[in-house]
């Protein structure tokens, strides 16, 4: 187990370094980074001084090393607009994004697991076909359109739920549904496929032959074994949700990292964009690491391969 943990940790570190490389070079795609990282009214002298401070006049690998060293000390530059260090600004928005992503994940698991299981158990019935059709619709629907349509129906027409902002549970419902739909559709299909695989196994037949009630066979024998691969997907799904949150947060004016990043891009506040991207990637990598470790713990076969 320890070797497994170490290997996964090393991979996670490698990915984070990779992401930092990507972010570092994207900011330099435009040529002179001082134009992106300093406010537009900075003078030529400011630029030269800033370039020297940040080491932009040094070789590129030295620059990257400096960037990495600062990042490790929690220094991701200063936001141009807020005139404060960028990292705390992003971290401040973290709870809102996590709240939304977890609510969406909860919605999708609560719907997808039962829907997928019933679909598999009643394979090729009308229920199964309609569920699969619904899942395909769910995966074809643009997140932003779904959000706008929900606002149109539940906020504008029925005046039941607020259109935007963060507050009580009523504020969370529409954004969570919007963000959760795509994952719901995907997880439903995966649970169904997983269940179908498991149902064909010998041990299910054994359990049935023993005369166990079907409910018990499905929940204890089939579902449990299906859930192990589903856990991995949940880890990946969290990434999809964090990415989707960028759009959902924009539609519902949800004060999370995604909305912060989008507004920062329009204000050309690149230090803040950089911090938001790095923090999101870090959350994603950590959640994947956690899921991998959980997976290894649940299914000992994984550790030794």
């Amino acid at each position: 187990m320890r070797r497994y943990i170490l290997r996964r940790l090393a991979q996670a570190v490698l990915v984070v370094v990779g992401v930092s490389l990507v972010v570092f070079f994207v900011i330099r795609l435009s040529g002179d980074p001082t134009f992106l990282l300093l406010s537009p009214d900075a003078t030529e002298a400011d630029r030269v001084r800033f370039a020297h401070e940040q080491g932009f006049d040094r070789p590129i690998y030295v620059q990257y090393a400096l960037f990495l060293e600062r990042a490790l000390h929690g220094d991701l530059g200063r936001s141009l607009r807020y005139r404060q260090p960028a990292l705390p600004l992003v971290v401040e928005r973290l709870p809102a994004t996590m709240e939304l992503a977890l609510a969406a994940l909860l919605v999708s698991l609560l719907v997808a697991i039962p829907a997928g299981v019933i679909s598999a158990v009643r394979r090729d019935t009308a229920y199964d076909n309609l569920t699969m059709l619904g899942a395909l619709f769910g995966q074809s629907m643009p997140v932003f359109w779904l959000g706008i349509m929900l606002i149109l129906v539940f906020s504008v027409r029925l005046e039941l739920l607020p259109t935007s902002g963060r507050g009580g549970l009523d504020h969370l419902i529409l954004p969570a549904l919007t963000l959760g739909l795509y994952s719901t559709a995907r997880v439903t299909r995966l649970v169904r496929a997983g269940m179908l695989d498991v149902i064909g196994q010998d041990y299910i037949r054994t359990a049935q032959a023993k005369g166990l009630p079907d409910r018990r066979v499905i929940v204890k024998h089939a579902l449990r074994n299906t859930l192990i691969p589903v856990i991995t997907i949940v880890g990946l799904e969290l990434g999809t949700l964090l990415g989707g949150a960028v759009i959902t947060e924009t539609i519902f004016a949800w004060p999370g990292i995604g909305r912060l990043a989008v507004t920062a891009i329009f204000q050309r506040d690149y230090p803040l964009v950089q911090a938001a991207v790095l923090v999101t990637a870090l959350i994603f990598v950590l959640s994947n690491l956690f899921v991998d470790l959980l997976y290894g713990w649940l299914d000992p076969r994984i550790r030794y391969t």
């Binding site: 697991i113 019935t125 932003f144 179908l196 049935q208």
Partner: protein
């Protein structure tokens, strides 16, 4: 979940568990819906896709108005069938008085063009890298797959908006960004195939007959990945259309006044309380297009590569 009925529910589950193993449709109703959904879906998907292509190509002939023609005198006209609507403007007009239907018709060009081009650019790169990685393994495999890991370890839309922000929004940049994001799927698929085939007898035979690596890669390995790649590439086009419309919706993709579906939604969202048609119709166009392509992908998968699981 699994209902509260005990007696009849339990019976039917016994039957269907056995059915699931035999994989034959159980009830007549089930078979009917199954046939409708599975068989028709491919045809419907194909029809939607062909219609889309026809609309995109024939836009100048089909569009009733110039998509850029503004007139504030007729701004925010509702669709023709509602009170205040005009038969001239079937789906209504937007905040600048432009015809929504014509803009949707022209918008299909952008969606299809960007969706197709980004896949056409990323697919060959992904397949080549994947084949090389899977066939040669070792260093090249490590490097390619680590890059792929980094890219997957990252909500792509975030990278896309960052690059679009730095480079500036334009159709060309959107295609480049999407192509950069798309290659990983194809590379992983091609690598998997190459890895599983490289030890097979026919590759061994080709090698012992003196076939060079280049020949083995492109004459013997490539044909084996064509079917799954076509299937995955079809879903890729749908994915790219969704991503493009997301970027345009955020204002980082295709810029006004060029009509794009995502951009129309972006314009329309400010008028959501007064004019629902600004956002409803372009969004429906995106969904229908993506759904059509996905249907077609499902159908192609059943046709070309039944081994691919329906995931």
């Amino acid at each position: 979940m699994a209902g509260s009925t005990r007696g009849s529910g339990t019976r039917s589950v016994v039957g269907s568990l056995a059915d699931a193993v035999r994989s034959t449709p159980r009830s007549a109703r089930g078979r009917l819906v199954s046939a409708l959904v599975r068989k028709r879906a491919g045809a419907i998907g194909l029809a939607i896709v062909l219609l889309n292509i026809a609309v995109a190509l024939g836009a100048p002939v089909l569009a009733p108005h110039d998509p850029l023609d503004q007139d504030v005198a007729r701004r925010l006209l509702p669709p023709a069938w509602l009170a205040g609507g005009s038969p001239e403007y079937l789906l209504g007009t937007d905040q600048l008085g432009r015809d929504i239907l014509s803009r949707i018709i022209y918008g299909s060009r952008i969606s299809l063009l960007i969706g197709l081009l980004s896949v056409v650019l990323s697919l060959p790169i992904g397949v080549c890298l994947g084949l090389l990685a899977g066939y040669f393994t070792g260093r090249i495999d490590d490097i390619t797959m680590r890059i792929a890991d980094v890219q997957l370890a990252f909500p792509f839309i975030l990278l896309a908006i960052t690059i679009a922000g730095v480079l500036g929004p334009s159709p060309r940049n959107v295609i480049l960004i999407l192509a950069v994001g798309g290659w990983v799927v194809y590379a992983r698929l091609a690598r998997g195939q190459a890895l599983s085939l490289r030890e097979k007898e026919f590759i061994e035979a080709a090698r012992s007959l003196g076939g060079g690596s280049f020949r083995i890669l492109f004459r013997h390995l490539l044909p084996n990945v064509v079917s799954p790649i076509i299937v995955v590439g079809t879903f890729g086009v749908a994915q790219m259309i969704l991503l493009e419309s997301s970027l345009s919706f955020l204002g980082l993709g295709v810029q006004p006044p060029t009509p794009s579906w995502g951009g129309m939604l972006n314009d329309g969202k400010a008028y959501i309380t007064v004019a629902w048609w600004l956002t409803t119709f372009p969004g429906a166009a995106i969904m229908l297009t993506v759904l059509g392509i996905n249907f077609m992908g499902d159908w192609l998968r059943d046709l070309l590569d039944p081994r691919l699981q329906s995931v």
